[in-house]
């Protein structure tokens, strides 16, 4: 067996070379020995790493497609909107390591699965709530450094602006993955991306990066913005 090469590319995000020429990324596992979604575990220098599957996680796909700067680092507080079954949040909690990650999810059915992975990671706080109504969880969530949003709602840009007003520190980052098909099936994705970008800029963001995450997801784009307040 060839030796596994692990190289840090962002803070707490590692590039992994298994010797087959494929570009892979991984995070150091906070709960060693546990898998969240059936991902591959590898060991290097007595540390356990979880391979980050870009087909299942849009943030992972964005990193592989060349994200310039990764706002989520060790020690950033994160508000994660649209946690779903906890695939990406588990990696986010690996990255932020010893600071809090609030994960908001709306559907109780998915929450049932997600709540299990929260038990193993103490920095991951599950919140059953509607991202459209941020005041409903305003008594739980504190100010954060990064908001990550992946909710696939028609008004997802407005949701991000609303949440940023409540919870985002000034000059904090926001990452939003926009699915064109969930906003309007009849329109050209490019038009939709422009529209959503406009909403974000008017809402008080400076867009610093945009990454198309094809081929992992179709008609998706990820915006990274800095919150300038209103």
């Amino acid at each position: 067996m060839e030796k596994i090469k692990v190289k840090e590319i962002f803070s707490n995000v590692y590039g992994v070379d298994l010797g087959d020429g494929l570009k892979r990324i991984a995070t150091k596992s906070l709960a060693p020995g546990k898998r969240v979604y059936g991902e591959k575990l590898i060991y290097s220098e007595n540390k356990e790493y979880r391979i980050w599957n870009p087909n299942k996680s849009k943030l992972g796909a964005a990193i592989i497609n060349g994200l310039k700067k990764m706002p989520i680092k060790k020690g950033t507080k994160v508000l994660y909107l649209g946690a779903s079954a906890g695939t990406t949040p588990s990696h986010v909690s690996d990255i932020s390591e010893d600071t809090i990650v609030y994960a908001v999810e709306f559907a109780p059915r998915i929450m049932r699965e997600f709540i299990d992975s929260c038990n193993e990671r103490i920095n991951l706080i599950p919140i059953l709530g509607d991202a459209n109504r941020p005041f409903e969880y305003s008594n739980i969530v504190g100010k954060v450094d990064v908001i990550f949003e992946d909710v696939a709602q028609p008004n997802q840009a407005e949701i991000l602006v609303k949440n940023a007003k409540w919870f985002l520190n000034k000059d904090g980052y926001a990452m939003i993955s926009i699915k064109a098909r969930s906003i309007d099936v009849t329109k050209n994705p490019k038009e939709i991306f422009l529209e959503q970008k406009k909403i974000l800029i008017e809402g008080g963001f400076d867009i610093v990066d945009e990454i198309n995450i094809e081929p992992f997801e179709k008609d998706h784009i990820m915006f990274v913005g800095i919150w300038k307040g209103n």
Partner: protein
Amino acid sequence: MLFIAFAPFGAFAFEETSKNGEYSIEDIKYYKIFDNVEIPKIMYDFRQANFEIIGEIKKEWEIEEVDVNVEYTSSKINPTGEFIRNNLFEIGKHYGIFEDNEDFLIKMNEWGTQFTKLMMKKSSEQKDKLIVQTVNALDNLDETLNLFSERLREWYSLYFPEMDSLIKKHDIYVKLVSEYGDKEEYTRTSLKKTMPSNIARTISLAAKESMGADVSEYDLEIMKNLANEINGMYEYREKLQEYLEASMKEIAPNLTKLAGASIGARLISLAGGMERLIKLPASTIQVIGAEKALFAHLRERAAPPKHGIIFQHPLIQGNPWWIHGKVARAISCKISIAIRADVFGNDISEMLFEDMNKKVEMIKEKFPEPTKKRRPRPDTRDFKGKGGPKRDDGRPRDGKPFNKPKSGEKDGKPRDGKPRGNKPFGEKPRGDRKKDDGRPRDGKPFNKPKSGEKDGNRPKPQNERTGEKRGGPPKPKMERKVIGKTSSQN
């Protein structure tokens, strides 16, 4: 002005002072720390809009002022809330809630988990979730029953092939096999008890002169066992249906009266629960279950669907086709009212039912004759999100490409008049079509060439339906048929 806001572990308040939004822990005028055990419950109460706690806190702090701003209820940010969120950990540490960062994480995690569990308990206590599951179970059961009944037919036909064509209904076929099995037991006298005598005679005659192979008793026993199992599933299906009807009457009496238990339950199931269903407009209820056609309409200007799941309603099925759409609209309006009455606790089913029937009668009187020629029904099998059906309604085409260039390139094009469907399998017809088309191209390759080829190659559905002359021998269809048959006989 007094501002009140909440942290997970307590309530805090301070007065508005002109400090340009700069506050410190000393500015907190009132505070109340919640009991550690009660925190998830308090969070839960807030979410359920049970704001008694706020009243209690006010009493405890002896506030009589009217000018109080509570953040949670007003959905507006106030300075206290802003301060708490900025210093969540520091405030907790100041009041001795947390020791260090790890303690903070552990406690927050525990409260969040407990609170979420409470919320989930509430959401799964709703009876409509049970209905959704029941409907899904029924659908799965139907699928399985069909599959196994077909298998039994094939299997048992080795022994008694004549019965396959004599008895069309699966449940009767299965019952007969599980009851008799042996060919010699199909006598006229015993069959007569359960079915009309002429059918009993045909079956018993066929059993006597059967061309089926002889099998051993052991082989027959295995077939009978399968029939028994399927029969048991049919019985269970009936029980499930009864349960569905009973619980639908309990939670949605109006809807059940108007639409019937089956359609009502399906509406709830497709919408994802009663709470969601009451928020839908009647026009959406009309097309629930026809999403594929609806999106084809939005995307590729296919004909809009007239009805979704409510098409199964007897008032629609029992009336002539030219008023289907009108009746569907009338019924969906009444159904929409009925669901809301169910959720908010009124039984007005009799009135609604009468209204609905009256309305349908009116429509019937108004349109005794078809007002337009019947159009061939669009073939929804062809959509798959790739292209709409090609309508042959005689309207002139504007020839414009659609919004989506990918599918538009193929579908918006004027016909070149060549007969379709005579292409052998797998050959690409795209090449020669391209030349005839005079429109400018953007030169882009197809995003999905695979599906595009398939679409172009397929014989046009409406040609089959309207009986237009098809050029050439229908080769592809023949091949397909043979393949299908052999695979099912294996």
